[in-house]
């Protein structure tokens, strides 16, 4: 039985985090092309172990592995924050940018023998980017005007889902269903220099906004094979995302055929407290956008859980991943990503039946390349899970 004060405090915290959740994760110049930059709210542990998020084992909340919640025995909340620093080089020009987002928040509640109920809110497509350029434009009649153009795209496709997970012997199953949500705001601003238009003249502005809707869902299952092997997999059913132009937006409504996203993974107990993990993810975006194609990612890592850090039980992780990204800018033949990762986990609170609070911190570094662009990426992911309130 949870103390009432702890329960209400937990609910307040969950509410506050839901308000803070900004499900976008602009991390690449690739956000500019296609529908955005596909990304999901992976936890720090999933990122440290190859970036797939399937076959990791353990009871936890995961937006890509709904069956993973089957063994949770206490109500819990988990959220993830991600910061990225990218140094992009195109030919000899370079630019850098950084973002900090909260791409995932999820809650779970064990319903006794009926299984575990969960709610998850996560991002699927990052569409935040901007374009700034100064130029001299021909205004006809031989005249020219010096202008500064600013284009701002801000938004994401997200999913809000309710799920259920339950264990049946050595097999656990899980599913979540819900709606696509989020919005996309795009604005264009042209600022003329004061010599051209005089002072106190507002800049030219135009823009549009689309709200997302549509149904989505994910199913998954996991199983233990023998005493050393664990496997799991999931399929997110893409369906159609309806982008409805809001009032005042001149552009038409859009519909995006979101691809199904398949993930499989396995882990193998190499030695007491030492686990190896590998996984694969695949989704075909060729129907979604004219520059879309099949995207895949494989990765893996090792986790050693036998250490103590700062007097607490902890774990160390190393991993690597390689991906073919689904949107390839015109003029590019390929878009790939290679990342290496290192992370740690720390149990904050140990309960009678297991850990009640812990965090995972992962740092990834590597690069992306497409066309003449090379991006050097450093990304940190912090996930916090709290249970038992």
């Amino acid at each position: 039985m949870m103390p009432e004060s702890s329960r209400s405090r937990g609910l307040l915290l969950a509410g506050a985090l839901l308000l803070l959740a900004t499900p976008v994760e602009a991390q690449s110049l690739l956000s500019v092309d296609g529908l955005g930059f596909p990304q999901v709210g992976l936890t720090g542990r999933a990122r440290a172990l190859g970036g797939i998020g399937a076959g990791l084992g353990g009871a936890r909340l995961s937006v890509v592995d709904p069956a993973a919640a089957a063994d949770m025995i206490a109500s819990s909340i988990a959220f993830t924050g991600t910061s990225s620093w990218v140094d992009a080089t195109e030919n000899e020009a370079s630019s850098d940018f950084s973002t900090t987002r909260f791409p995932m928040i999820a809650l779970s509640y064990p319903a006794g023998s009926y299984g575990v109920v969960s709610v998850a809110f996560s991002s699927l497509l990052d569409q935040t980017w901007e374009d700034q350029r100064s130029s001299t434009v021909d205004i006809g009649g031989g005249g020219q005007a010096f202008v500064r153009d600013l284009f701002d795209s801000e938004g994401s496709v997200s999913a809000l889902e309710v799920g259920w997970a339950r264990r049946f012997g050595r097999v656990a199953v899980g599913a979540r269903g819900g709606r696509y949500t989020g919005s996309l705001n795009r604005s264009f601003t042209r600022v003329f220099d004061s010599v051209t238009v005089g002072s106190n003249v507002p800049a030219f502005q135009t823009g549009g906004q689309w709200d997302y809707s549509g149904l989505t869902g994910i199913v998954g299952a996991s199983a233990s094979i023998g005493s050393q092997t664990f496997i799991s997999g999931s399929i997110r059913v893409g369906g159609e995302v309806d982008a409805t132009a809001t009032e005042g937006t001149d552009a038409p409504d859009e519909a995006i055929s979101m691809p199904s996203d398949m993930r499989v993974g396995a882990s193998f107990l190499l030695a007491p407290d030492l686990v190896a993990n590998a996984g694969f993810q695949y989704s075909d975006w060729s129907e979604a956008d004219e520059i879309g194609r099949a995207g895949w990612r494989f990765g893996g890592g090792v986790e050693w859980a036998g250490s103590r850090i700062l007097g607490k039980d902890g774990a160390w992780r190393l991993g690597a991943q390689r991906a073919q990204l689904p949107f390839v800018p015109e003029g590019s033949e390929d878009a790939t990503e290679t990342l290496f990762s290192a992370g740690l986990a720390l149990e904050l609170v140990q309960g009678e039946t297991g850990p009640l609070g812990w965090f995972d911190l992962t740092v990834e570094f590597g690069g992306r390349s497409f066309g003449n662009v090379q991006e050097d990426v450093v990304r940190s992911t912090l996930s916090v899970s709290l249970a038992g309130f």
């Binding site: 702890s6 900004t22 956000s31 374009d131 284009f151 003249v201 135009t206 982008a243 709290l386």
Partner: protein
């Protein structure tokens, strides 16, 4: 256990706050691909001819008076046309002066003797060289006159009272001499010695007009005068060896000139003394069916909105001022204001300045006639385009001198029937919708 959970909450709060602070410094990815922006934007400059936006022009004179100008213009057959004379009325002479007596105390001596007096003026020599020499004549002006309304023909021309000069041009006068200003020797000073009779008349007579007329004798010239005064040399009965100098300043001054310029025929006139204003009526089109450049970009008919309008300006073409004696000799400072009550023209109240100050070179109204000037009226046109139904923002513009009046010269611009008729120049930004993809 509960304490541990509270500790975790505290840790989480710190982590969350740190992440929020970091998020405040976000730098979004910046596209390097100009074709990646999903919107086509074009900016085009349009010139709307008078026939498509003009409702009419009118010029009104009579604003202000030469007496308000700090400068007195005198001219003698300038450019074969202009004659101008300065009129000045001085304050009463002092009845006493403060001096120190034999004990060193400061006392007011009312038993004074005015030993001499000089009428002094300063000429504007900014355009003169050291060899320039002008001769001026001065005379006592006995007839009653009103500085605000006096003109070449009339000494008084106010409502309810009109009195002609005995002779046109503020005559006759009792001459008290001539003075020559040699710029190379005396600088800008013009000095007339007052004879004792004039000093006595101006000092003693309670109803003396104490007025003078200054003429320019040098033919074909025009000179601006300023700083007129009468300098008195005063002797004291209490301190016989002391001489006190006192300057008596004017209480009224003006200048009168001939000929009066004819009213402009269809042109826009600004300036002069009294000053002219021009009013331009605008019927800003909200739907454009041209020019071709616009239709090519955005399709026609094109709905002109304040959002698409980045700049609007009224383009005027200067014309040579005639008679040329009235051509500006210095920069013309224009002001442009909305006419708030067109029905009350020419005395309609005007709105706030739209331009602050626009300086036009003087040559544009002489040898450089035909020069085009843009008067920015973006805010004015935007308010017209933004007007809600039932509201009537001003649609008339008053073009006037920044200082009314500034001097005798005026500027003119081509009117609707002239080759350089006013043009409405618009900088319009057109775009299709911002696309999703």
């Amino acid at each position: 256990m509960r304490r541990a959970v509270r500790g975790v909450f505290g840790g989480v709060a710190i982590v969350g706050l740190a992440a929020m602070v970091a998020a405040c410094e976000e730098q979004s990815p910046v596209s390097s691909d100009p074709d990646g922006v999903p919107v086509e934007v074009r900016t085009v400059e349009l010139e709307i001819p008078w026939s498509d936006f003009g409702e009419g022009v009118a010029s009104f004179g009579g604003f202000g008076s030469a007496s308000q100008i700090g400068v007195l213009t005198v001219a003698n057959d300038f450019v074969g046309t202009l004659d101008s004379r300065a009129l000045v009325r001085f304050d009463s002479f002092p009845s006493g002066v403060a001096v120190r007596n034999a004990e060193g105390a400061l006392v007011v001596d009312t038993l004074i003797t005015i030993r001499s007096g000089r009428l002094i003026a300063r000429a504007d020599i900014s355009e003169a060289d050291s060899l320039t020499s002008w001769t001026f004549a001065a005379g006592l002006l006995d007839q009653r006159w009103d500085a605000r309304t006096a003109g070449w023909e009339n000494a008084i021309d106010s409502i309810g009272e009109r009195v002609s000069w005995d002779e046109p041009g503020a005559g006759p006068v009792r001459s008290f001499g001539e003075a020559t200003a040699n710029v190379g020797e005396t600088g800008d000073s013009i000095i007339f010695d007052l004879d004792s009779a004039t000093i006595a008349e101006w000092a003693d007579s309670a109803d003396s007009p104490r007025a003078a007329r200054l003429d320019l004798v040098s033919a074909g010239e025009r000179v601006d005068l300023r700083g007129l005064s009468v300098r008195l040399e005063i002797g004291s009965s209490l301190a016989p060896d002391t001489t006190v100098f006192r300057d008596v300043t004017p209480v009224a001054q003006t200048f009168i000139y001939t000929p009066e310029p004819d009213a402009p025929a269809g042109a826009l006139r600004v300036g002069g003394s009294p000053s002219w204003r021009s009013v331009v009526g605008l019927d800003v089109p909200t739907v454009l069916n041209g020019p071709a450049a616009l239709c090519e970009l955005a399709g026609c008919p094109f709905e002109l909105t304040s959002e698409s309008l980045s700049r609007a300006s009224l383009v005027l073409r200067s014309r040579a001022t005639l008679p040329s004696a009235f051509q500006p000799v210095d920069s013309v400072l224009l002001d442009v204001r909305p006419v708030l009550a067109p029905d009350a023209l020419p005395r309609s109240p005007l709105g706030s300045s739209l331009v602050g100050e626009t300086a036009l070179g003087a040559d544009a109204f002489g040898v450089g006639a035909g020069e085009s000037f843009e008067i920015p009226i973006t805010g004015f046109v935007r308010r017209i385009l933004d007007a809600e139904e039932g509201t009537a923002p001003p649609t008339d513009l008053a073009i006037l001198s920044l200082v009314e009046p500034l001097d005798v010269s005026f500027a003119e611009f081509d009117g609707p029937d002239d080759p350089g008729a006013p043009v409405l120049r618009l900088l319009v930004t057109v775009t299709d919708a911002v696309r999703y993809r």
